[in-house]
Symmetry: C3
């Protein structure tokens, strides 16, 4: 009962891209925490699929997409392999995590809002689940890694606001039936750029 904004293949490609970049950030945190390769894979899967999993369980879309689409499941494992072999320069890690994370944030806050709205939730709740889709995986990642969720920390750069703006913008566009084709990129890019600006100027 998804709204038919795109051909399924475009939607799917966007999902895979978001999953990949979030998985990279999860695997990199595992490296910093000295977890082994299994821990890397778990954090990659949870960071990439956790937000969508929470959303799907809440809207009753079970089994969740994460457990019906092999591409969703295998992408974080690919990210794990890449991080495992290609992270020699530890000093580059922090910045890379940030940019990847920002891209995933922008994609997920919009796809999450769209899916929740397509399942009949009101606009406020759809946007809230869009936010939850975007930040939920990172919160689960931090809880599993036994860290204070970076989402809540006072000393961190603005993280939630870009996702809130992106989700709210997507909800508004849905409300006016205007979230089709290229318009889809508007809230995604808005959230992504806002996040990059927050990282640079904070």
């Amino acid at each position: 009962m998804l709204t038919d904004l795109f051909s399924p293949s475009v939607q799917h490609s966007l999902d895979i891209a978001g999953i990949f970049v979030f998985a990279i950030s999860g695997a990199l945190l595992a490296v910093r925490k000295n977890f082994d390769v299994f821990g890397m894979a778990v954090l990659a899967e949870v960071t990439a699929l956790g937000g969508g999993l929470i959303r799907d369980v809440i809207i009753g879309a079970v089994p969740p997409a994460a457990f019906t689409d092999l591409g969703y499941f295998l992408t974080p494992l690919l990210a794990t392999v890449i991080v495992f072999f290609l992270h020699p320069e530890v000093e580059r890690i922090t910045k890379a995590v940030g940019v990847f994370d920002a891209a995933g944030l922008g994609l997920f806050c919009v796809t999450g809002t769209v899916k929740a709205y397509g399942h009949g939730l009101g606009l406020v709740f759809a946007a809230t689940l869009g936010l939850a889709t975007a930040v939920g995986g990172g919160v689960l990642r931090d809880i599993l890694a036994h860290e204070v969720p970076s989402l809540l920390r006072w000393d961190r750069d603005l993280y939630a606001v870009p996702a809130m703006v992106g989700a709210a913008l997507a909800a508004l566009l849905l409300r006016f039936g205007a979230l089709d084709g290229l318009a889809y990129a508007v809230p995604v890019v808005t959230a992504f750029v806002l996040r990059l600006l927050a990282m640079r100027f904070h």
Copy 2:
């Protein structure tokens, strides 16, 4: 398929009251942890709605009430604003958290039991989910705030026992068809008073 113990408006008002007091306790913990206002709102929402969310996902009542009722969603934001502007005397915080929490505990252990029973669960499981409704939000709050769940700590006052008594009492009254009208107040007040006594005499 809820049991029709009350007019919907009375049930709803009780829910809102419980949500409000739990949200206050969540926002106050965020203040103590030096989270920013977004962190306060997240902890307020999670503390207030988390227990009910767990219950609704387990009994299959999706989307959960927290994602279909704007009043449930907005109340914790109101509590966040109040705490944000009115918490200048930090030394009063601990006591306020305790009393608010006790009231929410009493309300939620009963409403949770009633809702689970209304969805066809057995009395033991309904009472267990009543307990989970009452304490689940606080456990999620503590996990997000990266603290040992106060529910489990040896050095804390008795917290779970009042909720267990309230939930068990509610289940017994349901069993004998006697949980109507004023009788509803019996398990709520019992749990509330037991909790206040535990705080004072421990």
Copy 3:
């Protein structure tokens, strides 16, 4: 819609056995953390039933078995009572936790795979949920106890690999329709023995 591999009573007995041994490990961790008897019961229930609860919510089997079967619910309480009265020699605890945990690991990775497969999931996802069933309770236990999940720690013995082997073996046997009767024991014992070997030789 469970696959009819066994008479219900055999399946049920295996489940109860796995629940019991996991509950023992949960209650013993609570002892080490100086939680009170309520905390012991909570950790016992969560460790024993948490993995299956996650699985059931994900496959949409609600209310989960943990909330419909009194035997599942009461077994962890029995384990709590046993640990409460019979754990005087603290030095024996670590080893006991390990052996009990290994047995539960072997049982749950197989029963979880079978149940998920019976609900129509693909073999890869069924095996993944088998793994989640086996290790999910322990992860929830560690999060509630405010510890780094032992599943992810570099310095711990191999824990996940035996469960992965057991779940994959069960999925393969399901694939070829060969997981009946005594064959059921093959993946269970394989995972159990692998785990014991990992504990001894690491």
